[in-house]
């Protein structure tokens, strides 16, 4: 986009904030069973951390998180979520019923872990998709 604003304070504070935001985002995703939160909210926070990198570091952030990676991560999340749904159909259940045949697990525990992986995949999906939207908007389009 345009040239970035050169400021050592912005640079240092953004560099220090990004890992903290990402740790809190992973907490929100994986702790969705017990507290408010889940895939959508945590994915938005992950996307916000990447966008903070983009704003503060400018071109340098393309080395750390390439622009092509956004839609790849988003597509991976969507595909994995769909495969999780179809996997329970392969074992004779309904779509996303988590009726997998994993040995040593009761139906309740299976649904617990099914919800967990669904939330993780939704987190990946929202993360990648929002970063991809930001990168597409930031590029200004092709004339």
């Amino acid at each position: 986009m345009t040239s970035r604003f050169e400021s050592i304070f912005l640079f240092v504070v953004a560099r220090a904030m990004v890992p903290l935001i990402q740790v809190f985002a992973f907490y929100v995703i994986t702790h969705g069973h017990y507290s408010p939160g889940g895939g959508f909210q945590g994915g938005v926070m992950l996307a916000a951390s990447i966008i903070l990198l983009r704003i503060s570091l400018g071109e340098e952030s393309y080395d750390r998180f390439p622009r092509e990676a956004g839609i790849v991560i988003g597509g991976f999340g969507a595909l994995a979520f769909a495969l999780l749904g179809f996997a329970s159909m392969a074992f004779g259940g309904n779509f996303l019923e988590y009726a997998l045949a994993v040995p040593g697990m009761g139906a309740e525990e299976l649904r617990y872990w099914g919800i967990f992986f669904a939330e993780v995949f939704i987190g990946f999906l929202v993360w990648g998709a929002l970063v991809a939207i930001y990168d597409a908007l930031e590029s200004g389009g092709v004339e």
Binding site: G32, S35, E68, G114, V142
Partner: protein
């Protein structure tokens, strides 16, 4: 014209506020929204999936297909914004660049090797 719009909005707002008097009280257990399947969720969410947060159990388990559609809409928005903003021309030698190659080429300025008017006169 602006005054007319303001009056119209005022009439509409008064109708909406009037309509809220027929809504049930907040947290009313006898309201139609609480008489359907939601009592089953409240009673059985922890028994069925060992998840204390009922909202997560409803979102990802009982109503998983809704969540799936909701999530696919986000990916579709990302894909369509990429497709609209980053459309690529077919190059003359038939090669394909990366996703953002046209944007990078525009930022770097006109490339003398591919522009038709380039080269020595």
């Amino acid at each position: 014209m602006k005054l007319f719009a303001m009056i119209l909005i005022g009439i509409l707002a008064s109708f909406v506020i009037w309509g809220t008097h027929d809504l049930p009280e907040r947290g009313d257990p006898q309201s139609p929204a609480n008489l359907g399947v939601s009592t089953y969720y409240i009673e059985n969410a922890y028994i069925d999936s060992e998840t204390p947060n009922m909202v997560t159990a409803v979102l990802a388990d009982y109503r998983g297909f809704d969540t799936f559609g909701e999530a696919v809409v986000v990916v579709a928005a990302a894909l369509s914004s990429l497709l609209i903003l980053l459309r690529r021309r077919r190059r003359e030698d038939g090669s394909e660049g990366g996703l953002f190659s046209e944007v990078d080429a525009q930022k770097a300025g006109p490339d003398p090797s591919t522009s038709p008017s380039g080269g020595a006169p």
